[in-house]
Amino acid sequence: MITAERKPISEIKEMIAPYRKILVVGCGSCVAECASGGEKETGLLASAIRMDAKSSGKDIEVREMTLDRQCVYEFIDQLNDVIADYDIVLSLGCGAGVQAVAEVFPKVHIVPALNTTFIGQTKEAGLWIENCRGCGDCKLGVFAAVCPVTRCAKGLFNGPCGGSKSDRCEVDPDVPCAWQQIVSRLQDRGRLDLLRKVHPPADWSKQQGKGPRKIYREDQRS
């Protein structure tokens, strides 16, 4: 999923300060999974904003709503009946969600409550780890399902580097060396042959694009 973390309240307060009527909108997908922007977190944030306003004698109106997904127009449309009553939308969606809502309602001021971070997995309760950088050219089949682009700090395709020691990355002893993992797994499967040839340079244009990338499917268009 896409992971995100709530911005400090002080930063959020600064963004909503000029406004009186605030619509706080959560998202029930990725950010709910990583406990940063789901219905519960939306409730927590709205509660904190209301309490803060009361404590400082500010008169504000705060409403909470959570959409199943903030990045899909069909769900965003649910805001139609409500949005006109508010001055600002405080979105707990990921960056994709915030911008998608902004496109549907371009006249409404919308601000992000979260810092969107990475694509990752829920490894354990309360622990999310990045494992994909959306390079657009997946090579997990060659690297025993350990992504070198994401999990090797230097993005090596012919690793490991000279700093790999005791299975740890030189950058942080808490970070496993991805290349140690790749080599071990391939060794176990008897597929070290996959590493024998020099892996060529990546086509980074698939990740960078020329501006924002897009996918277009004629068969899916209405």
């Binding site: 090596l156 012919n158 690793g159 490991p160 000279g162 700093g163 020691k165 060396c177 080599v183």
Partner: protein
Amino acid sequence: MTTESRLKKILQSGKFAVTAECGPPKGADPEVVRNKGKILKDYTDSVNVTDNQTGVVRLCSLAACALLRAEGIDPVLQMVTRDRNRIALQSDVLGASALGIRNILCLSGDHQSFGNQPEAKGVFDIDSIQFVKTVRTMRDAGEVIGGDKLATPPQLFIGAVENPFADPLQYRATRLATKVDAGAEFIQTQCIYNIDRFKEWMGFVRDNGLEGKVFILGGITPLKSARMAEYMANNVAGMDVPDEIIRRMKSVPQKEQRQEGIRIALETIQALQSIKGIHGVHIMAIEWEDVVPQIVQEAKLFPRPQV
């Protein structure tokens, strides 16, 4: 250009090579580089210049190599893939050759988080092995990545590094084989304190059929103090400093520790000379370049042969 790589000539003639490292200054003064060059010139076959080592901004390797070249030294241009994309790397390769630099060492580089620019974007467009292959293709096929032709190919003797002390141990020799396949002609290793482990690695190297396929120079860094030994053991990634070495350094009073460090270095050089498949020594006495003449002399490797 009629300049040739002295390092290549020495290695090809079967003589035991001596290279050393010159660390460029954190500043723009060319005299610093020239002075280090003067110290090292007669005691080495070639001099490496490091490339923003540990991610700290220093006078660039290319410029420093050009300065050394002008002093009649045969420099080894170290280039890391951390800071430049393939356009810049290939361009600098052409520039190096144009400046008469005849040796290149291709590395990935220490991660940018270690240096004084931890917020910099680590480029890593290509890795060290892809870079070796790129330079080899530029030189031998006159082509850049993608196949476009070069009007004049660069002339460079191509090297890479290997760390026999990093994990996974056995795989290191396989990786060396891949580097050789990519086109590496010489290897300089990470500095050696654990000679037994090094010999073990060399065994794997020979088992992989690499003896005779690539010139290997063993790395040496003389220890200045017991504290340095401990620091390297605990804080430098991929370093293997046996307890015995630390004990030796601690067993002498502080003002004699440099001498002990030199003694250990000399013993290591002697051991290297008797290992099959080792063709030279690479002395990395960073910020202690003036110890190199002493070491080379006491190791009976002075004067350097004529080629």
